[in-house]
């Protein structure tokens, strides 16, 4: 049992002394002031308004940690027992501020900067220049249009995954083998898929898929040679990797449908096709919506296969927004512009996903 003076000793709000509360407030405001001063000094030095300051932002980080500790301790001093409850939440909140909020704010600053990694002067504020550049960048909008195409392909992926799930849910021979076999592509990283399929099997001279295509009459099977073909091939490779994920989720959903519902439908005369549309499919809607939403999130991050196989080519034709941003950062060292594109993309994704979730909310409710 905790005793008076221990940190865990129960102090109700009634027992709080003025001295104790004052000390708590002093700790919080003192450390906050210290943090503000350190950050201000550093900012003034970074922006060239002051000659003094620290060589790095590290002291600001230390001041932030000190403030975080004082804030927690101060809450206990000021609020007593209720303050201790804050201890459970504050570390997580402070962590989120450090790891999510701060990087996002810093990203926002960079997004309005001109920053080339070779520049000895580093980062300079350039107002809305990056937005203007984005607005007139045809190749960025081409990447955005590609994202729409790639995302729409999910409808086809979903249909195939549903078909495979139905097949594996029925009484077929070697069902377990097929379940494992169909899951294999999901085990591979997209980088491995890029090399195995895109670079090796589809290689125009010796790749077995290219050879087969030649046997079938395609004289020069260049899977990445034209913009349309390259886009299509990228979609196929991505689908090959992730259809198993959709399939396994749908299969789990199918197995969760109570057998008596389907049997009752049969008794009522629903033949297999009608039974699927009127019973199985509606019951699977919640699972389907979830699967599609997760898949959209995966798809919006599509980059690795493109970077490895086509590097966005030919001529930017296969670029996704993510691969485009990657090249802006990596090859062109356009840190400011790349960050702006990333921020804009983040906002668009959040808006799009919110709308999709609102629209599908009604369908996603369980039907049984």
């Amino acid at each position: 049992m905790a005793e008076q003076g221990d940190f865990l000793h129960v102090v109700t709000t009634d027992n709080l002394t003025d001295r104790r509360i004052a000390l708590g407030r002093a700790m919080i405001w003192g450390s906050a002031g210290f943090l503000a001063v350190v950050a201000l000094v550093q900012t003034l030095q970074e922006t060239g308004y002051a000659d003094f300051g620290f060589s790095t932002w590290r002291p600001t980080l230390y001041a932030y940690v000190l403030w975080a500790i004082c804030l927690c301790w101060g809450q206990v001093l000021i609020r007593g027992e209720r303050g201790k409850r804050v201890l459970f939440v504050l570390p997580a909140a402070l962590f989120v501020i450090s790891m999510v909020v701060f990087p996002l704010l810093f990203g926002l600053v960079i997004a309005f900067s001109d920053w080339n990694l070779s520049s000895p002067t580093g980062r300079t504020f350039n107002g809305l220049d990056n937005i203007r550049q984005m607005w007139t960048d045809d190749f960025y909008w081409n990447a955005m249009a590609n994202m729409v195409r790639y995302t729409l392909a999910i409808i086809v992926e979903y249909a195939i995954a549903f078909g495979l799930a139905l097949l594996l849910n029925s009484q077929i021979h070697a069902r377990k083998f097929f379940r494992v076999a169909f899951l294999m592509p999901l085990m591979l990283s997209p980088v491995a898929v890029s090399w195995m399929i895109g670079k090796s099997m589809m290689e125009i001279r010796f790749g077995p898929i290219a050879r087969l295509a030649r046997e079938l009459g395609w004289a020069s099977p260049s899977f990445f040679g034209s913009p349309e073909m390259a886009r299509f091939t990228i979609m196929v490779m991505d689908a090959w990797t992730y259809i198993p994920f959709m399939m396994i989720m749908i299969l789990a959903g199918l197995q969760a449908i109570p057998r008596d519902i389907q049997e009752a439908a049969k008794v009522d005369g629903a033949r297999s096709w009608r039974g699927f549309w009127e019973v199985t499919f509606p019951l699977m809607l919640p699972v389907s919506i979830t699967v599609i939403l997760i898949r959209i999130i995966f798809k919006l991050k599509l980059a690795d296969i493109i970077i490895n196989v086509t590097a966005g080519g030919p001529g930017g034709a296969t670029d996704s927004v993510t691969s485009f941003i990657f090249r802006e950062y990596r090859d062109r060292s356009n840190v400011g512009y790349g960050t702006l594109l990333a921020m804009v993309y983040l906002v668009l994704i959040v808006i799009a996903i919110t709308i999709v979730m609102k629209l599908t909310d009604r369908w996603a409710r369980p039907r049984y």
């Binding site: 001109d114 920053w115 080339n116 990694l117 070779s118 520049s119 000895p120 002067t121 190749f139 125009i204 020069s220 260049s222 990445f224 040679g225 913009p227 086509t310 590097a311 080519g313 030919p314 001529g315 930017g316 034709a317 090249r327 990596r330 090859d331 062109r332 060292s333």
Partner: protein, 543 residues
């Protein structure tokens, strides 16, 4: 030592270090009695011995071969470092792992060095396409996490210019016999602000390689080997639809890489452009020196881009799927494997033709310097001149091994890092890397001793042709030297991206593609700082 012996040594131009080594060797041999004479002879013959590893025609060298070569070339290290002197020292080495070359060899070469000195090396391997980005980010974010760096001279502006490199000690220059380097690799290359930072391990210039079975009397490519880009383009178009005499597959002419390579791909259109735009009276060919205004969209450069676009438009001129071929593909998967008849590449494709397992063209390969142009563009007068113009491209100005300033404060570590670099840049070891697949080409005056190559198994005609193309390029009075300015690979990388769009038909014309590159280059110059770029550009061109 007797005075007459000393004088004799001076007469035969023996260096002080060699003299001491010789004296020590003779002394120790004398102590060992009769065995001494034989061992000393073997030591003298080290160059012939390493050239037999594995031997021309014996297939590609393996890790065991690299280690053997490293072991046999340790004598110079032993002269400066005591056994076990670097016990407990750990060094991080960042370099390229391109096509199983560079870092792979270094590992083998340095294994006996590690065993002798007691130091340990940790490796950071980078693919060619990732090299620039990784180095640039390390520099910009102040996270240089390597002690030894394999780097090309073009990056000296980014590294030495920011004080990230350690100055080379005198004993290293002596150990590697730096005086032996070919002229264009001596200062200012490898020096920055008058200080030397680099152990050179490579030359670098693009040379022309062609298939001898395509040309000559009755050859499908014509009686004469093309000497100009105009002839090359005509032959390439003419070869479409014909059959390769070696493989029986479709015949092709010049192999342009149409896919980028992390910035390195830009060299492969620049080597077309130099013939059009590098004027003998001007050192500058990428930017106007007083303004940093890009020259890349002048009519000469546009002609180079147009050449490639014309070949893309000619069905069958390029192998199928050339749009996805980067320079690694054109050299190693296409030319050496028997696809296509003409190629521009760094010199090492020559030694690879004869000594790599992947080559089938070793008996039918010939070499020349960068093709000429029948006319050249003078950017100062803004007019074409009807003059034949040759301008070999000194693409990348050679790889070097650099030591970073991370070790500057620790004398033991610093000596260890420089010793490792000196071992890799040693005179004898470099002869081996020139003669076998390594990613490096001849770059020392001593590499042009034809007899040594003959003794290794090369035939005289091949050696004269191959080494001659390198030597003629290095010594060419109108060689196109690239500038060592900060961000040079950002310029190349963005150009590569825009070119890929142009080649894929995303821009309306070659001029439009060139204008897009120029606009992007202007932006980079503004970002980095125009005034400082002008100053560095002029300095790097000796203006």
């Amino acid at each position: 030592m007797k005075v007459d012996l000393y004088e004799h040594a001076v007469r035969v131009a023996m260096s002080r270090r060699r003299l001491l080594q010789g004296t020590a060797a003779v002394g120790s041999m004398a102590a060992l009695g009769g065995l001494g004479v034989k061992t000393a002879a073997a030591q003298d013959n080290i160059r012939a011995e390493i050239l037999k590893i594995p031997g021309v025609g014996a297939g590609s060298p393996t890790d065991a071969d690299w280690q053997k070569v490293g072991e046999l070339c340790l004598a110079t290290t032993k002269a400066n470092v005591a056994e076990g002197e670097f016990e407990g020292v750990e060094l991080t080495f960042m370099g390229l792992n391109n096509q199983n070359l560079h870092n792979f060899l270094f590992r083998g070469f340095l294994k006996p060095w590690e065993a002798y000195t007691g130091a340990k090396i940790n490796w950071i391997d980078l693919a060619q396409a990732d090299y620039n980005a990784r180095l640039q980010q390390s520099i910009a974010t102040g996270t240089v996490d390597f002690d030894i760096l394999e780097m090309g001279a073009p990056f000296e502006g980014d590294t030495a210019g920011r004080g990230l490199l350690d100055e080379m000690p005198d004993w290293v220059a002596e150990q590697i016999e730096a005086d032996d380097l070919v002229g264009y690799l001596k200062a200012p290359v490898g020096t920055w602000d008058g200080k030397t930072y680099r152990v050179t391990i490579d030359g670098d210039c693009h040379t022309f390689a062609y298939r001898t079975d395509y040309f000559g009397e009755g050859g499908i490519g014509g009686a004469e080997v093309p000497k100009t880009w105009q002839q090359i383009n005509a032959v390439t178009k003419d070869l479409a639809g014909k059959t390769d005499p070696l493989t029986g597959l479709p015949a092709h002419g010049y192999l342009d890489p149409l896919k980028g390579w992390g910035g390195f791909g830009f060299y492969f259109v620049a080597n077309r452009a130099t013939a059009y735009v590098k004027h003998p009276d001007e050192a500058a060919w990428l930017f106007e020196p007083d303004t940093m205004k890009p020259l890349v969209n002048n009519p000469g450069w546009v002609q180079a881009f147009q050449d490639v676009m014309d070949l893309i438009a000619t069905e069958g001129a390029y192998p199928a799927d050339q749009i996805n071929a980067d320079p690694g593909t054109t050299a190693f998967s296409q030319f050496l494997a028997g696809t296509g008849s003409m190629l521009m590449w760094w010199g090492d494709v020559g030694s690879s033709a004869r000594t790599s397992d992947t080559s089938v063209v070793g008996d039918v390969v010939g070499f020349g310097i960068n093709p000429a142009s029948e006319r050249r563009y003078n950017w100062r007068s803004g007019a074409w001149e009807e003059e034949m113009n040759e301008a070999p491209s000194m693409a990348y100005i050679g790889w070097g091994v650099y030591v970073t300033s991370r070790v500057s404060g620790d004398e033991k570590k610093r000596k260890a890092a420089w010793s490792a670099a000196a071992h890799l840049g040693g005179k004898d070891l470099s002869l081996w890397t020139s003669a076998y697949p390594s990613g490096f080409q001849p770059y020392r005056n001593s590499h042009f001793n034809y007899e040594e190559w003959e003794a290794a198994g090369y035939d005289r005609a091949f050696v004269e042709d191959y080494l001659g193309s390198n030597r003629d390029s290095y010594n060419h009075p109108n060689a196109a030297i690239e500038p060592r300015i900060p961000g040079i690979f950002q310029y190349y990388s963005v150009a590569e991206d825009e070119l890929a769009k142009g080649f894929a038909g995303q821009y309306g014309s070659a001029q439009e593609t060139a204008d897009a590159i120029a606009a992007a280059w202007e932006k980079i110059t503004d970002q980095i700082g125009r005034e400082s770029q002008i100053a560095l550009y002029k300095a790097s061109l000796g203006m």
